[in-house]
């Protein structure tokens, strides 16, 4: 292949891949955001309603745990199909990256809840007692003690969530969600354009590496223990 040909080939490939990359980043960013908005309160409630904690509510704790486990045991692809009608309700369509954000957020929320639960459980009970002893309220203990103390571990958990959602988003692509997954399936699988498939895979691998490195870096910066 001549140089000129190679360049035009590559620029065609970039033109093909770039919009999908943006779609993926868009889906992952907003899905993560909404998954955290849904999952964070659930994770906090799971911790503080546990036995002996600052807002003991055994029934609520058990019920919530059960619901989260049920949601997590559904295969993602089933969940996404089940939730798609909800996308139509909220977004007005079930096709495209914006529509995929709804099932992605909802599917990741229980995962986020568990991740946040386990991070918050690492906060030593001693420091929580110290805050009770200076007269802190429950919200103060959550926002001024538990979350800041768990921050390094929360950042790692959220990093894991982003990477998971990236994987889910590729699956969402398979049923019309757009993004790199959609690209890989349309060109690589249905039209046998292996080069597009390989490009999509390489980009996904690089994305995961970048996300993990950034997460590790931020977590290390925050960790003063």
């Amino acid at each position: 292949m001549e140089a000129a040909n190679l360049i035009s080939y590559l620029s065609e490939l970039v033109d093909l891949v770039l919009p999908s990359l943006w779609e993926t980043l868009y889906m992952v960013f907003f899905s993560t955001l909404f998954a955290i908005i849904l999952g964070l309160p659930l994770g906090i409630i799971l911790v503080i309603t546990d036995k002996g904690h600052i807002w003991e509510k055994p029934k609520l704790n058990r019920t919530l745990g059960l619901i989260i486990n049920m949601a997590r045991s559904l295969p993602f692809i089933i969940l996404i199909i089940a939730i798609f009608p909800l996308s139509r309700l909220i977004i007005g369509t079930t096709i495209g990256p914006t529509a995929a954000i709804v099932p992605l957020s909802i599917a990741a929320a229980p995962f986020v809840a568990r991740i946040i639960e386990s991070s918050l459980k690492e906060v030593s009970w001693g420091i929580i007692e110290a805050s009770i002893s200076v007269g802190a309220t429950i919200p103060q203990i959550i926002f001024k003690v538990m979350l800041p103390e768990a921050m390094p571990s929360l950042v790692l958990g959220i990093t894991l969530t982003v990477i998971n959602i990236l994987g889910y988003s590729a699956m969402a692509g398979a049923i019309g969600g757009g993004g790199l997954g959609d690209l890989a399936i349309r060109y690589g699988y249905q039209r046998f354009q292996t080069d597009v498939l390989i490009a999509a895979i390489i980009i996904l691998i690089v994305l995961v590496q970048i996300i993990q490195s950034i997460g590790n870096m931020i977590s290390r910066k925050l960790d003063k223990r």
Binding site: S124, G126, I127, A130, S131, V134, G135, P148, K224
Partner: protein
């Protein structure tokens, strides 16, 4: 003033009940340093943690300045807790916050304006001698420095009472001493009542005015520290004071009974320590005295000592010498073969 009345605490788990405190009655005066000593599992932490309701009593009353705090809930309880500082064996600092932010924490909880917080925190860091560490994180501090941060935090809201749960148990002897003298200074300077629990007699000796000995959830002895040390009654008290009692270095020093020789343990305290009673005895009764071992300690400016003395002479003279000593307000034990 803290008055504890008929306080009981039972921990209940699925299958078993632990009676950690059994009908405790105790009065702690305003401005004193009160010690609670006991062996592991005796119920010290349970008792201390009832005083700021970190542990809910099963029954009984805890009156602080006349208010029964066991009846308080919600905001009232939180306001009361702000006036009771607590320091912990393992410091319990915010690990991801600086020294400054750790000390500022109770003030921020209390919604004090930030400018006032700064003034107060710098003042507190001055008191605990940590001004140069204000931007350090706890992980960069030694154990003693961490405890100083804990003390500054406990002082932040100008408390009336400080509760100390084994505050020096994780520290080496020199650091322990500096923390104890800091607590003493704080008590003197600000008139704060301090309640310390410990399993170390040294802490009691150096710090406390009065002491209660707790054994299996029951207060078995209570009184001034000097009283306890000079005349312990309960077996636990005696066990804690065992180090201070002169012991025979070698049991063979007492042979089978010889009427012309006795080994005496003489315990004395206060002014008696300065009296030359041994030489008086030797002169007056024609006996010889040989000091085997002895120790004298100064506890809160009172001399407390214990001596093992072998006296020899005629039986009558020995008996009169022992009478002489008994009349001098000294505690005398005649050691027999097999005792030490």
């Amino acid at each position: 003033m803290i008055t504890i009345r008929n306080l009981s605490k039972v921990y209940e788990s699925q299958d078993k009940k632990v009676e950690a405190l059994k009908n405790i009655n105790l009065t702690i005066n305003k401005g004193e340093i009160f010690g609670i000593i006991g062996l592991s599992g005796a119920g010290k932490s349970s008792l201390l943690r009832c005083i700021n309701l970190l542990e809910t009593p099963t029954s009984g009353e805890i009156l602080i300045n006349g208010t029964d705090i066991t009846k308080l809930r919600g905001a009232e309880l939180r306001e009361t807790r702000k006036k009771i500082g607590m320091i912990f064996q393992h410091f319990n600092l915010l690990m991801n916050s600086t020294v400054y932010d750790n000390v500022a924490f109770p003030l921020r909880i209390n919604r004090v304006p930030e400018a006032e917080i700064e003034k107060r925190v710098l003042e507190l860091l001055e008191i605990v001698n940590l001004s140069d560490k204000k931007d350090s994180y706890p992980s960069q501090l030694s154990g003693g420095q961490k405890q100083r941060v804990g003390i500054a935090r406990a002082l932040a809201n100008n408390p009336d009472i400080i509760l100390s749960d084994e505050a020096t148990s994780a520290l080496d002897p020199t650091t322990t001493e500096s923390i104890l003298s800091l607590l003493k200074d704080i008590n003197k300077k600000f008139g704060i009542t301090i309640v310390v629990i410990t399993h170390e007699m040294d802490v009691i000796k150096h710090l406390c005015n009065r002491v209660a000995v707790i054994e299996d959830g029951v207060i078995v002895e209570e009184g001034s520290v000097i009283e306890l040390i000079s005349n312990p009654q309960a077996s636990t008290s005696k066990r804690f004071l065992a180090d201070m009692i002169a012991k025979l270095p070698n049991p063979d020093l007492i042979q089978e009974h010889n009427p012309t020789e006795e080994v005496l343990r003489i315990s004395f305290f206060g002014e008696d320590a300065n009296k030359p009673f041994i030489s008086q005895m030797v002169k007056q009764f024609d006996v010889e005295a040989n000091i085997i071992v002895g120790n004298i300690e100064s506890i809160q400016d009172v001399q407390v000592g214990s001596l093992l003395v072998k006296i020899s002479g005629s039986k009558e003279n020995i008996d009169s010498a022992i009478d002489f000593l008994n009349n001098h307000n000294l505690r005398i034990e005649v050691l027999k073969n097999g005792s030490c």
